[in-house]
Symmetry: C2
Subunit: 272 residues, 2 copies
Protein backbone atom coordinates (compact mmCIF):
# COMPACT_ATOMS: atom_id res chain seq x y z
CA UNK A 1 0.00 0.00 0.00
CA UNK A 2 1.30 3.49 -0.84
CA UNK A 3 1.31 6.34 1.68
CA UNK A 4 -1.29 8.17 -0.40
CA UNK A 5 -3.60 5.17 -0.33
CA UNK A 6 -3.25 5.09 3.46
CA UNK A 7 -4.11 8.80 3.68
CA UNK A 8 -7.15 8.23 1.46
CA UNK A 9 -8.35 5.49 3.80
CA UNK A 10 -7.92 7.76 6.82
CA UNK A 11 -10.16 10.40 5.25
CA UNK A 12 -12.69 7.86 4.01
CA UNK A 13 -13.06 6.16 7.40
CA UNK A 14 -12.43 9.31 9.43
CA UNK A 15 -10.07 7.26 11.51
CA UNK A 16 -6.33 6.83 11.97
CA UNK A 17 -6.74 3.96 14.39
CA UNK A 18 -4.42 0.95 14.33
CA UNK A 19 -5.58 -2.05 16.34
CA UNK A 20 -2.87 -4.16 17.95
CA UNK A 21 -3.53 -7.89 17.65
CA UNK A 22 -1.47 -9.06 20.64
CA UNK A 23 -3.21 -12.33 21.33
CA UNK A 24 -2.57 -13.97 24.70
CA UNK A 25 -4.42 -17.30 25.13
CA UNK A 26 -4.78 -16.53 28.85
CA UNK A 27 -6.81 -13.43 28.07
CA UNK A 28 -9.15 -14.45 25.25
CA UNK A 29 -12.68 -15.77 25.93
CA UNK A 30 -12.57 -19.35 27.20
CA UNK A 31 -14.99 -20.71 24.58
CA UNK A 32 -12.50 -19.89 21.81
CA UNK A 33 -9.97 -22.35 23.24
CA UNK A 34 -12.12 -25.16 21.80
CA UNK A 35 -11.55 -23.87 18.25
CA UNK A 36 -8.93 -25.56 16.07
CA UNK A 37 -6.96 -22.30 15.88
CA UNK A 38 -8.02 -20.13 18.83
CA UNK A 39 -5.64 -17.27 17.95
CA UNK A 40 -6.95 -16.94 14.40
CA UNK A 41 -10.56 -17.38 15.54
CA UNK A 42 -10.06 -14.49 17.96
CA UNK A 43 -8.37 -12.27 15.36
CA UNK A 44 -11.01 -12.99 12.71
CA UNK A 45 -13.81 -12.05 15.11
CA UNK A 46 -12.03 -8.84 16.13
CA UNK A 47 -11.32 -7.92 12.48
CA UNK A 48 -14.88 -8.66 11.35
CA UNK A 49 -16.23 -6.42 14.12
CA UNK A 50 -13.78 -3.50 13.80
CA UNK A 51 -12.39 -3.22 10.24
CA UNK A 52 -14.69 -0.29 9.33
CA UNK A 53 -13.43 1.68 12.36
CA UNK A 54 -9.67 1.42 11.82
CA UNK A 55 -7.19 1.77 8.96
CA UNK A 56 -4.53 -0.63 10.24
CA UNK A 57 -3.91 -3.80 12.23
CA UNK A 58 -0.65 -4.51 14.01
CA UNK A 59 0.09 -8.04 15.24
CA UNK A 60 3.08 -8.06 17.59
CA UNK A 61 5.12 -11.07 16.48
CA UNK A 62 6.22 -11.94 20.05
CA UNK A 63 2.71 -13.11 20.90
CA UNK A 64 2.72 -15.51 17.93
CA UNK A 65 6.28 -16.79 18.30
CA UNK A 66 5.55 -17.67 21.94
CA UNK A 67 3.17 -20.36 20.62
CA UNK A 68 5.74 -21.83 18.24
CA UNK A 69 4.69 -23.28 14.88
CA UNK A 70 0.98 -22.91 15.71
CA UNK A 71 1.52 -19.27 16.56
CA UNK A 72 3.41 -18.60 13.33
CA UNK A 73 0.61 -20.36 11.40
CA UNK A 74 -1.99 -18.19 13.14
CA UNK A 75 0.00 -15.07 12.16
CA UNK A 76 0.15 -16.21 8.53
CA UNK A 77 -3.60 -16.96 8.50
CA UNK A 78 -4.37 -13.56 10.03
CA UNK A 79 -2.40 -11.59 7.44
CA UNK A 80 -3.82 -13.75 4.62
CA UNK A 81 -7.34 -13.06 5.89
CA UNK A 82 -6.65 -9.33 5.97
CA UNK A 83 -5.03 -9.23 2.52
CA UNK A 84 -7.79 -11.34 0.93
CA UNK A 85 -10.80 -9.70 2.55
CA UNK A 86 -9.63 -6.20 3.41
CA UNK A 87 -7.02 -5.02 0.90
CA UNK A 88 -7.80 -1.44 2.00
CA UNK A 89 -6.25 -2.15 5.43
CA UNK A 90 -2.63 -1.18 6.18
CA UNK A 91 -0.82 -4.01 7.95
CA UNK A 92 2.05 -3.66 10.41
CA UNK A 93 4.29 -6.51 11.56
CA UNK A 94 5.42 -5.25 14.95
CA UNK A 95 8.61 -7.29 14.94
CA UNK A 96 11.33 -4.78 15.98
CA UNK A 97 13.88 -6.57 13.79
CA UNK A 98 17.30 -5.40 12.59
CA UNK A 99 20.58 -7.16 11.77
CA UNK A 100 23.63 -6.83 9.50
CA UNK A 101 22.81 -6.15 5.85
CA UNK A 102 22.34 -9.56 4.26
CA UNK A 103 20.41 -10.75 7.32
CA UNK A 104 18.07 -7.77 7.34
CA UNK A 105 17.28 -8.62 3.72
CA UNK A 106 16.09 -12.04 4.95
CA UNK A 107 13.86 -10.39 7.56
CA UNK A 108 12.48 -8.02 4.94
CA UNK A 109 11.65 -10.99 2.71
CA UNK A 110 9.99 -12.77 5.64
CA UNK A 111 7.61 -9.93 6.43
CA UNK A 112 7.11 -8.20 3.07
CA UNK A 113 7.18 -11.19 0.71
CA UNK A 114 6.50 -14.44 2.57
CA UNK A 115 3.87 -13.07 4.98
CA UNK A 116 2.79 -10.09 2.86
CA UNK A 117 2.76 -7.22 5.37
CA UNK A 118 2.75 -3.58 4.24
CA UNK A 119 5.21 -2.57 6.93
CA UNK A 120 7.50 -3.81 9.68
CA UNK A 121 8.93 -2.17 12.79
CA UNK A 122 12.74 -2.06 12.94
CA UNK A 123 15.24 -1.19 15.71
CA UNK A 124 17.89 1.44 14.84
CA UNK A 125 20.79 0.35 17.10
CA UNK A 126 22.83 -1.31 14.31
CA UNK A 127 22.59 1.72 12.01
CA UNK A 128 22.18 2.44 8.30
CA UNK A 129 23.18 -0.88 6.75
CA UNK A 130 20.80 -2.76 9.06
CA UNK A 131 17.81 -0.64 7.98
CA UNK A 132 18.39 0.12 4.29
CA UNK A 133 17.66 -3.48 3.19
CA UNK A 134 14.08 -2.98 4.44
CA UNK A 135 13.81 0.41 2.72
CA UNK A 136 14.68 -1.10 -0.66
CA UNK A 137 11.21 -2.69 -0.99
CA UNK A 138 8.89 -0.55 -3.12
CA UNK A 139 5.52 0.43 -1.59
CA UNK A 140 6.55 -1.21 1.68
CA UNK A 141 7.18 0.80 4.83
CA UNK A 142 9.84 0.54 7.50
CA UNK A 143 8.76 1.87 10.87
CA UNK A 144 11.89 2.78 12.81
CA UNK A 145 11.89 2.87 16.62
CA UNK A 146 12.62 6.44 17.69
CA UNK A 147 11.13 7.17 21.13
CA UNK A 148 9.32 4.22 22.66
CA UNK A 149 6.50 4.31 25.21
CA UNK A 150 8.19 2.36 28.00
CA UNK A 151 10.20 3.56 31.01
CA UNK A 152 13.37 2.07 29.52
CA UNK A 153 13.21 4.74 26.78
CA UNK A 154 15.02 6.99 29.27
CA UNK A 155 17.98 4.59 29.62
CA UNK A 156 19.52 5.38 26.24
CA UNK A 157 17.06 7.06 23.81
CA UNK A 158 16.90 10.38 25.64
CA UNK A 159 20.61 10.57 26.46
CA UNK A 160 22.31 13.57 24.87
CA UNK A 161 24.94 13.24 22.13
CA UNK A 162 26.54 16.60 21.32
CA UNK A 163 23.48 18.36 22.70
CA UNK A 164 20.95 16.24 20.78
CA UNK A 165 19.16 13.25 22.28
CA UNK A 166 19.88 9.84 20.76
CA UNK A 167 16.33 9.46 19.39
CA UNK A 168 16.70 12.80 17.58
CA UNK A 169 19.99 11.58 16.12
CA UNK A 170 18.09 8.53 14.88
CA UNK A 171 15.47 10.78 13.23
CA UNK A 172 18.03 13.17 11.76
CA UNK A 173 20.48 10.50 10.54
CA UNK A 174 17.87 8.23 9.01
CA UNK A 175 16.52 11.03 6.80
CA UNK A 176 19.68 10.71 4.68
CA UNK A 177 19.39 6.95 4.10
CA UNK A 178 18.52 5.52 0.69
CA UNK A 179 14.77 5.31 0.06
CA UNK A 180 14.08 7.21 3.29
CA UNK A 181 10.67 8.13 1.84
CA UNK A 182 9.68 4.62 2.93
CA UNK A 183 10.40 5.43 6.59
CA UNK A 184 7.83 5.92 9.32
CA UNK A 185 8.70 6.21 13.03
CA UNK A 186 7.50 4.80 16.36
CA UNK A 187 6.90 7.54 18.91
CA UNK A 188 5.18 6.66 22.19
CA UNK A 189 2.01 8.52 23.16
CA UNK A 190 3.18 8.62 26.77
CA UNK A 191 5.64 11.28 25.64
CA UNK A 192 3.26 13.48 23.61
CA UNK A 193 5.01 16.72 24.55
CA UNK A 194 8.11 15.47 22.69
CA UNK A 195 6.13 15.40 19.43
CA UNK A 196 6.52 19.14 18.79
CA UNK A 197 10.31 18.78 18.67
CA UNK A 198 10.04 15.60 16.61
CA UNK A 199 7.90 17.37 14.00
CA UNK A 200 10.68 19.97 13.59
CA UNK A 201 12.99 17.16 12.42
CA UNK A 202 10.56 15.01 10.43
CA UNK A 203 7.61 17.22 9.47
CA UNK A 204 6.26 14.88 6.80
CA UNK A 205 6.76 11.31 8.06
CA UNK A 206 4.00 9.11 9.38
CA UNK A 207 4.28 8.28 13.09
CA UNK A 208 3.03 5.05 14.61
CA UNK A 209 2.01 6.00 18.13
CA UNK A 210 1.57 3.22 20.70
CA UNK A 211 0.66 3.82 24.31
CA UNK A 212 -2.83 5.39 24.02
CA UNK A 213 -5.14 3.64 26.47
CA UNK A 214 -3.60 0.91 28.64
CA UNK A 215 -0.26 2.72 28.83
CA UNK A 216 -1.84 6.09 29.67
CA UNK A 217 -1.23 8.22 26.56
CA UNK A 218 -3.69 10.98 25.61
CA UNK A 219 -5.16 11.10 22.07
CA UNK A 220 -5.85 14.85 21.97
CA UNK A 221 -2.31 15.70 23.12
CA UNK A 222 -0.81 13.43 20.47
CA UNK A 223 -2.92 15.10 17.74
CA UNK A 224 -2.12 18.61 19.00
CA UNK A 225 1.63 18.10 18.72
CA UNK A 226 1.94 15.32 16.14
CA UNK A 227 -0.61 15.83 13.35
CA UNK A 228 0.65 17.25 10.04
CA UNK A 229 -0.95 18.33 6.75
CA UNK A 230 -1.36 14.70 5.67
CA UNK A 231 -2.57 13.63 9.14
CA UNK A 232 0.72 11.74 9.58
CA UNK A 233 -0.47 9.64 12.51
CA UNK A 234 -1.43 6.05 13.13
CA UNK A 235 -2.52 5.68 16.74
CA UNK A 236 -2.38 2.20 18.10
CA UNK A 237 -4.46 0.62 20.81
CA UNK A 238 -4.09 -3.06 21.63
CA UNK A 239 -5.24 -4.33 25.04
CA UNK A 240 -7.71 -1.45 25.52
CA UNK A 241 -9.69 -2.70 22.51
CA UNK A 242 -9.19 -6.43 22.09
CA UNK A 243 -9.63 -7.32 25.77
CA UNK A 244 -12.60 -5.02 26.42
CA UNK A 245 -14.58 -8.16 27.35
CA UNK A 246 -13.59 -11.76 27.97
CA UNK A 247 -17.15 -13.02 27.45
CA UNK A 248 -19.12 -14.09 24.37
CA UNK A 249 -19.62 -10.41 23.48
CA UNK A 250 -15.86 -9.74 23.17
CA UNK A 251 -15.99 -8.68 19.51
CA UNK A 252 -18.89 -6.26 20.03
CA UNK A 253 -17.17 -4.88 23.13
CA UNK A 254 -13.98 -4.37 21.09
CA UNK A 255 -15.98 -2.59 18.38
CA UNK A 256 -17.48 -0.23 20.98
CA UNK A 257 -14.01 0.68 22.28
CA UNK A 258 -12.74 1.12 18.71
CA UNK A 259 -15.75 3.27 17.83
CA UNK A 260 -15.16 5.51 20.85
CA UNK A 261 -11.63 6.17 19.59
CA UNK A 262 -12.80 6.60 15.98
CA UNK A 263 -15.30 9.26 17.10
CA UNK A 264 -12.54 11.15 18.93
CA UNK A 265 -10.37 10.86 15.82
CA UNK A 266 -13.16 12.18 13.59
CA UNK A 267 -13.39 15.23 15.86
CA UNK A 268 -9.63 15.76 15.63
CA UNK A 269 -9.73 15.46 11.82
CA UNK A 270 -12.52 18.04 11.62
CA UNK A 271 -10.69 20.48 13.88
CA UNK A 272 -7.58 20.13 11.77
Amino acid sequence: MTTNQLIDQIHKKQSFLCIGLDVDLNKIPKHLLEEEDPIFAFNKAIIDATHHLCVAYKPNTAFYEAYGIKGWQALAKTIDYLNSNHPDIFTVADAKRGDIGNTSTMYAKAFFEDLGFDSVTVAPYMGKDSVEPFLAFKDKHTILLALTSNQGAFDFQTKSIDGLELYKHVLETSKAWNNSENLMYVVGATKAEYLADIRQIIPNSFLLVPGVGAQGGNLQEVCKYGMNDAVGLLINSSRGIIYASQEADFAEAAAKKAEALQIQMEAELKRF
Copy 2:
Protein backbone atom coordinates in the same frame (compact mmCIF):
# COMPACT_ATOMS: atom_id res chain seq x y z
CA MET B 1 23.27 -24.69 30.55
CA THR B 2 25.16 -22.80 33.26
CA THR B 3 28.17 -20.61 32.51
CA ASN B 4 30.41 -23.06 34.38
CA GLN B 5 29.20 -25.94 32.23
CA LEU B 6 30.03 -23.87 29.14
CA ILE B 7 33.53 -23.16 30.47
CA ASP B 8 34.04 -26.89 31.18
CA GLN B 9 33.09 -27.69 27.59
CA ILE B 10 35.56 -25.10 26.28
CA HIS B 11 38.41 -26.74 28.18
CA LYS B 12 37.30 -30.25 27.29
CA LYS B 13 37.07 -29.53 23.56
CA GLN B 14 39.90 -26.96 23.54
CA SER B 15 37.59 -24.77 21.50
CA PHE B 16 35.45 -21.69 21.99
CA LEU B 17 34.03 -21.86 18.50
CA CYS B 18 30.39 -21.07 17.78
CA ILE B 19 29.12 -22.09 14.34
CA GLY B 20 26.47 -19.87 12.79
CA LEU B 21 23.72 -21.85 11.07
CA ASP B 22 22.55 -19.18 8.63
CA VAL B 23 21.00 -21.39 5.99
CA ASP B 24 20.31 -19.86 2.60
CA LEU B 25 18.69 -22.28 0.13
CA ASN B 26 20.55 -20.56 -2.70
CA LYS B 27 23.90 -21.48 -1.16
CA ILE B 28 23.48 -25.07 0.02
CA PRO B 29 24.42 -28.05 -2.18
CA LYS B 30 21.81 -28.60 -4.89
CA HIS B 31 21.24 -32.28 -4.05
CA LEU B 32 19.83 -31.32 -0.64
CA LEU B 33 16.95 -29.45 -2.27
CA GLU B 34 15.38 -32.85 -3.03
CA GLU B 35 15.13 -33.62 0.71
CA GLU B 36 11.78 -33.13 2.45
CA ASP B 37 13.35 -30.50 4.73
CA PRO B 38 16.49 -29.21 3.00
CA ILE B 39 17.32 -26.70 5.76
CA PHE B 40 17.25 -29.33 8.50
CA ALA B 41 19.09 -31.86 6.33
CA PHE B 42 21.85 -29.29 5.80
CA ASN B 43 22.04 -28.39 9.51
CA LYS B 44 22.07 -32.03 10.62
CA ALA B 45 24.95 -32.84 8.28
CA ILE B 46 26.92 -29.79 9.46
CA ILE B 47 26.25 -30.62 13.13
CA ASP B 48 27.18 -34.30 12.70
CA ALA B 49 30.47 -33.29 11.08
CA THR B 50 31.47 -30.45 13.43
CA HIS B 51 29.97 -30.92 16.92
CA HIS B 52 33.27 -32.18 18.42
CA LEU B 53 35.07 -29.03 17.18
CA CYS B 54 32.77 -26.36 18.59
CA VAL B 55 30.95 -25.57 21.83
CA ALA B 56 28.00 -23.66 20.40
CA TYR B 57 25.67 -23.32 17.41
CA LYS B 58 23.93 -20.08 16.52
CA PRO B 59 21.04 -20.15 14.05
CA ASN B 60 20.14 -16.63 12.95
CA THR B 61 16.34 -16.56 13.01
CA ALA B 62 16.09 -14.30 9.95
CA PHE B 63 17.19 -17.12 7.67
CA TYR B 64 14.40 -19.36 9.01
CA GLU B 65 11.64 -16.75 9.11
CA ALA B 66 12.35 -15.92 5.46
CA TYR B 67 11.01 -19.41 4.58
CA GLY B 68 7.81 -19.00 6.62
CA ILE B 69 6.24 -21.95 8.43
CA LYS B 70 8.70 -24.39 6.84
CA GLY B 71 11.61 -22.29 8.03
CA TRP B 72 10.25 -22.08 11.57
CA GLN B 73 9.74 -25.86 11.55
CA ALA B 74 13.33 -26.37 10.39
CA LEU B 75 14.53 -24.14 13.24
CA ALA B 76 12.52 -26.16 15.78
CA LYS B 77 13.83 -29.45 14.37
CA THR B 78 17.41 -28.16 14.49
CA ILE B 79 17.26 -27.11 18.14
CA ASP B 80 15.43 -30.35 19.06
CA TYR B 81 18.15 -32.34 17.31
CA LEU B 82 20.85 -30.45 19.22
CA ASN B 83 19.13 -30.75 22.60
CA SER B 84 18.40 -34.47 22.13
CA ASN B 85 21.75 -35.57 20.70
CA HIS B 86 24.21 -32.98 21.98
CA PRO B 87 23.09 -31.67 25.38
CA ASP B 88 26.68 -30.50 25.95
CA ILE B 89 26.29 -27.88 23.19
CA PHE B 90 25.42 -24.26 24.05
CA THR B 91 22.70 -22.93 21.76
CA VAL B 92 22.20 -19.32 20.71
CA ALA B 93 19.06 -17.97 19.04
CA ASP B 94 20.45 -15.00 17.14
CA ALA B 95 17.16 -13.14 17.08
CA LYS B 96 18.07 -9.59 18.20
CA ARG B 97 14.68 -9.18 19.87
CA GLY B 98 13.50 -6.60 22.41
CA ASP B 99 10.15 -4.96 23.19
CA ILE B 100 8.20 -3.46 26.11
CA GLY B 101 8.17 -5.62 29.25
CA ASN B 102 5.18 -7.95 28.81
CA THR B 103 6.07 -8.46 25.16
CA SER B 104 9.71 -9.30 25.88
CA THR B 105 8.41 -11.96 28.26
CA MET B 106 6.60 -13.53 25.28
CA TYR B 107 9.84 -13.52 23.24
CA ALA B 108 11.74 -15.05 26.17
CA LYS B 109 9.12 -17.82 26.38
CA ALA B 110 9.36 -18.38 22.62
CA PHE B 111 13.12 -18.93 22.64
CA PHE B 112 13.83 -20.33 26.12
CA GLU B 113 10.71 -22.45 26.69
CA ASP B 114 8.96 -23.24 23.39
CA LEU B 115 12.10 -23.73 21.29
CA GLY B 116 14.48 -24.57 24.16
CA PHE B 117 17.53 -22.40 23.41
CA ASP B 118 20.16 -21.68 26.08
CA SER B 119 20.46 -18.05 25.03
CA VAL B 120 19.05 -15.33 22.81
CA THR B 121 20.52 -12.12 21.40
CA VAL B 122 18.67 -8.95 22.43
CA ALA B 123 18.87 -5.32 21.24
CA PRO B 124 19.37 -2.67 23.97
CA TYR B 125 17.64 0.36 22.41
CA MET B 126 14.46 0.09 24.52
CA GLY B 127 16.36 -0.13 27.81
CA LYS B 128 16.11 -1.97 31.09
CA ASP B 129 12.46 -3.06 31.12
CA SER B 130 12.84 -4.54 27.63
CA VAL B 131 15.79 -6.73 28.67
CA GLU B 132 15.05 -7.76 32.28
CA PRO B 133 12.20 -10.13 31.27
CA PHE B 134 14.81 -12.23 29.44
CA LEU B 135 17.21 -12.09 32.42
CA ALA B 136 14.58 -13.53 34.75
CA PHE B 137 15.00 -17.04 33.28
CA LYS B 138 17.33 -19.16 35.42
CA ASP B 139 20.31 -20.82 33.65
CA LYS B 140 19.38 -19.00 30.44
CA HIS B 141 21.58 -16.29 28.94
CA THR B 142 20.75 -12.97 27.36
CA ILE B 143 23.33 -11.77 24.87
CA LEU B 144 22.98 -8.01 24.59
CA LEU B 145 24.13 -6.16 21.46
CA ALA B 146 26.95 -3.81 22.47
CA LEU B 147 29.28 -3.11 19.54
CA THR B 148 28.27 -4.88 16.35
CA SER B 149 30.52 -5.93 13.48
CA ASN B 150 28.89 -3.91 10.70
CA GLN B 151 29.66 -0.45 9.32
CA GLY B 152 26.38 0.89 10.79
CA ALA B 153 27.85 0.38 14.29
CA PHE B 154 29.44 3.83 13.80
CA ASP B 155 26.07 5.52 13.20
CA PHE B 156 24.95 5.43 16.84
CA GLN B 157 26.88 2.88 18.95
CA THR B 158 30.18 4.79 18.97
CA LYS B 159 28.65 8.25 19.44
CA SER B 160 29.73 9.91 22.66
CA ILE B 161 27.33 10.61 25.54
CA ASP B 162 28.99 12.69 28.25
CA GLY B 163 32.39 11.49 27.08
CA LEU B 164 31.43 7.81 26.96
CA GLU B 165 30.37 6.02 23.78
CA LEU B 166 26.81 4.69 23.62
CA TYR B 167 27.94 1.04 23.57
CA LYS B 168 29.94 1.65 26.76
CA HIS B 169 26.83 3.18 28.34
CA VAL B 170 25.00 -0.01 27.38
CA LEU B 171 27.70 -2.13 29.07
CA GLU B 172 27.88 0.08 32.18
CA THR B 173 24.12 0.54 32.60
CA SER B 174 23.21 -3.10 32.05
CA LYS B 175 25.54 -4.25 34.85
CA ALA B 176 23.04 -2.82 37.36
CA TRP B 177 20.00 -4.64 35.96
CA ASN B 178 18.32 -7.48 37.87
CA ASN B 179 19.93 -10.88 37.24
CA SER B 180 22.73 -9.23 35.25
CA GLU B 181 24.84 -12.35 35.92
CA ASN B 182 22.81 -13.85 33.05
CA LEU B 183 24.13 -11.24 30.61
CA MET B 184 26.62 -11.84 27.83
CA TYR B 185 27.46 -9.27 25.12
CA VAL B 186 27.89 -9.14 21.35
CA VAL B 187 31.15 -7.45 20.35
CA GLY B 188 32.24 -7.60 16.72
CA ALA B 189 35.67 -9.04 15.89
CA THR B 190 36.17 -6.36 13.25
CA LYS B 191 36.73 -3.99 16.19
CA ALA B 192 39.17 -6.10 18.24
CA GLU B 193 41.13 -3.11 19.50
CA TYR B 194 37.99 -1.94 21.32
CA LEU B 195 38.05 -5.10 23.44
CA ALA B 196 40.68 -3.79 25.87
CA ASP B 197 38.38 -0.91 26.88
CA ILE B 198 35.39 -3.22 27.00
CA ARG B 199 37.17 -5.58 29.40
CA GLN B 200 37.71 -2.63 31.75
CA ILE B 201 33.93 -2.29 32.08
CA ILE B 202 32.89 -5.95 32.01
CA PRO B 203 35.93 -8.03 33.01
CA ASN B 204 33.97 -11.21 33.74
CA SER B 205 31.20 -11.43 31.14
CA PHE B 206 31.20 -13.79 28.19
CA LEU B 207 31.45 -12.09 24.80
CA LEU B 208 29.91 -13.49 21.64
CA VAL B 209 32.20 -12.31 18.86
CA PRO B 210 30.94 -12.42 15.28
CA GLY B 211 32.92 -11.21 12.31
CA VAL B 212 35.86 -13.62 12.29
CA GLY B 213 36.38 -14.94 8.76
CA ALA B 214 33.97 -13.62 6.11
CA GLN B 215 33.76 -10.21 7.80
CA GLY B 216 37.54 -9.91 8.23
CA GLY B 217 38.09 -10.12 12.01
CA ASN B 218 41.30 -11.60 13.39
CA LEU B 219 41.16 -14.44 15.95
CA GLN B 220 44.50 -13.74 17.63
CA GLU B 221 43.69 -10.04 18.07
CA VAL B 222 40.34 -10.89 19.64
CA CYS B 223 42.00 -13.30 22.10
CA LYS B 224 44.77 -10.85 22.95
CA TYR B 225 42.34 -8.13 24.02
CA GLY B 226 39.22 -10.07 24.93
CA MET B 227 40.16 -13.28 26.77
CA ASN B 228 39.72 -13.33 30.55
CA ASP B 229 40.47 -15.83 33.35
CA ALA B 230 37.45 -17.94 32.42
CA VAL B 231 38.19 -17.62 28.65
CA GLY B 232 35.09 -15.42 28.34
CA LEU B 233 34.84 -15.71 24.56
CA LEU B 234 32.60 -17.44 22.07
CA ILE B 235 33.90 -16.74 18.59
CA ASN B 236 31.40 -17.18 15.82
CA SER B 237 31.96 -18.12 12.23
CA SER B 238 29.05 -18.74 9.90
CA ARG B 239 29.59 -18.47 6.14
CA GLY B 240 33.31 -19.23 6.40
CA ILE B 241 32.48 -22.70 7.73
CA ILE B 242 29.09 -23.80 6.46
CA TYR B 243 29.62 -22.71 2.85
CA ALA B 244 33.20 -24.01 2.53
CA SER B 245 31.94 -26.25 -0.29
CA GLN B 246 28.71 -26.42 -2.24
CA GLU B 247 29.36 -29.98 -3.42
CA ALA B 248 28.65 -33.41 -1.91
CA ASP B 249 31.65 -32.96 0.41
CA PHE B 250 30.15 -29.83 2.05
CA ALA B 251 30.04 -31.31 5.58
CA GLU B 252 33.64 -32.56 5.46
CA ALA B 253 34.76 -29.21 4.05
CA ALA B 254 32.94 -27.44 6.89
CA ALA B 255 34.64 -29.73 9.42
CA LYS B 256 38.04 -28.87 7.95
CA LYS B 257 37.36 -25.14 8.28
CA ALA B 258 36.05 -25.64 11.84
CA GLU B 259 39.09 -27.74 12.73
CA ALA B 260 41.45 -25.04 11.44
CA LEU B 261 39.80 -22.56 13.81
CA GLN B 262 39.74 -25.08 16.70
CA ILE B 263 43.49 -25.63 16.31
CA GLN B 264 44.12 -21.88 16.45
CA MET B 265 41.89 -21.70 19.54
CA GLU B 266 43.75 -24.56 21.22
CA ALA B 267 46.98 -22.61 20.73
CA GLU B 268 45.40 -19.50 22.26
CA LEU B 269 44.13 -21.50 25.25
CA LYS B 270 47.61 -22.97 25.83
CA ARG B 271 49.26 -19.56 25.62
CA PHE B 272 46.80 -18.17 28.12
